[in-house]
């Protein structure tokens, strides 16, 4: 009997040694190591400077910008975006709202900014601002309002955009993100039709991409999803991208935001 127990224990030990970390665990550990020195911190600091700096034709800072929780309130704003804004009569996400503030407060031209390639000029500033605003809500839970009719309408629209198949590959967002257990190469893909968990999917962007050394906002993330689907690029801060934000954000209700996160 004793020999049998010893044998069983030895077997258990062998199994422990052989329990290789799964790829996902390996990637999680890699992310943990990277997170110690997440360069998103640098963008966050830059964004804070930009928020307070008097710029543009009107030589004004963004400190009077209303991100949904009142003028100048940054903390907690990110986890409630996109939401309805009465002054613009639109549902807006973080980037489109920043665009509005840059126009009304600073006098910058939003069409010029929207047409600027990602990572250049005012778009680079936009990414830093997105890092700053999202960081002020780090650790809070996603809680998008759905009280306004337009917010519910945008959710429905976002759902349709999410499931809309097209392009040369006949792809939709749902092709990759509509069920659990999918991946592209070694990247696990979050299921975005429900809450994928804390700090996953919608609750993980904006994020710093280590492979390209760039800060990506949700707008850029979506743009790249469409590139991978071989769709035409959606307009920057267009209603289609905002609707997708509402759909993913409402689905992620209760997920803890870790933005600005770090990605491979």
């Amino acid at each position: 009997m004793r020999r049998l127990i010893v044998g069983a224990m030895a077997l258990a030990c062998v199994q422990l040694v052989h329990a290789q970390p799964t790829t996902a665990e390996g990637i999680a550990r890699y992310r943990e190591m990277l997170a110690d020195g997440n360069p998103a911190d640098l963008f966050e600091a830059k964004g804070e400077g930009l928020w307070k700096q008097k710029r543009g034709p009107k030589v004004a800072s963004l400190e009077q910008c209303d991100l949904g929780k009142g003028r100048g309130v940054v903390k907690g704003a990110f986890v409630e975006l996109p939401r309805w804004f009465a002054d613009t009569q639109r549902v807006q996400d973080l980037e489109s709202r920043l665009l509005t503030c840059m126009e009304t407060l600073q006098g910058l031209d939003p069409t010029v900014i929207a047409a600027t390639p990602f990572g250049r000029g005012e778009q680079a500033n936009m990414e830093a601002l997105a890092a700053y605003v999202s960081a002020a809500s780090r650790g809070q839970k996603m809680s998008l309002p759905q009280g306004h009719t337009k917010e519910r309408e945008m959710f429905e629209l976002g759902k349709r955009v999410f499931f809309f198949r097209g392009g040369p590959y006949d792809f939709s967002c749902a092709s990759c993100h509509g069920e659990a257990g999918k991946r592209i190469r070694l990247q696990d893909l979050p299921e975005l039709t429900k809450n994928p968990g804390d700090g996953i999917g919608f609750a993980a962007w904006p994020a710093y991409r280590v492979s390209s050394g760039e800060m990506w906002s949700m707008q850029r993330r979506l743009n790249d999803c469409y590139r991978q689907q071989r769709f035409p690029f959606p307009g920057f801060a267009s209603d289609a991208t905002i609707a997708l934000g509402v759909y993913m954000g409402v689905n992620a209700k209760g997920a803890e935001s870790i933005a600005p996160a770090i990605k491979r």
Partner: protein, 103 residues
């Protein structure tokens, strides 16, 4: 002017752990732009660290170090309130110095 670094220094045992995040392009000089022209090298060449005014680290860096580099080092003996100063110089003659207090 170069963007600021983030320097953090934390007591660990009888010493301290210092984490430095630097904002720098770290262009290798091997890449080409869209027009096929070489992008000139632009990277940090020297990093130094001082602990209460005493040099504790000098490093010669080259193009192999990543963009926005992260550096970690441990001080054998340090206490809360000590000052850690980190500086870098790059091959364009630009430099940046930031400091942190051990906490």
């Amino acid at each position: 002017m170069a963007d600021p670094m983030r320097v953090r220094a934390q007591v660990k045992g009888t010493g301290a752990e210092v984490r430095v995040l630097m904002a720098h392009e770290m262009e290798t000089g091997q890449r080409r732009d869209a027009a096929g022209k070489l992008i000139p090298a632009w990277h940090i060449t020297e990093v130094t660290a001082q602990h209460n005014g005493k040099p504790v680290l000098t490093a010669h860096w080259g193009p192999a170090v990543s963009k926005n580099p992260f550096m970690f080092f441990a001080l054998k003996s340090a206490k809360a309130g000590d000052k850690v100063v980190v500086s870098w110089k790059d091959n364009r003659g630009d430099s940046r110095t930031d400091e942190a207090v051990v906490a």
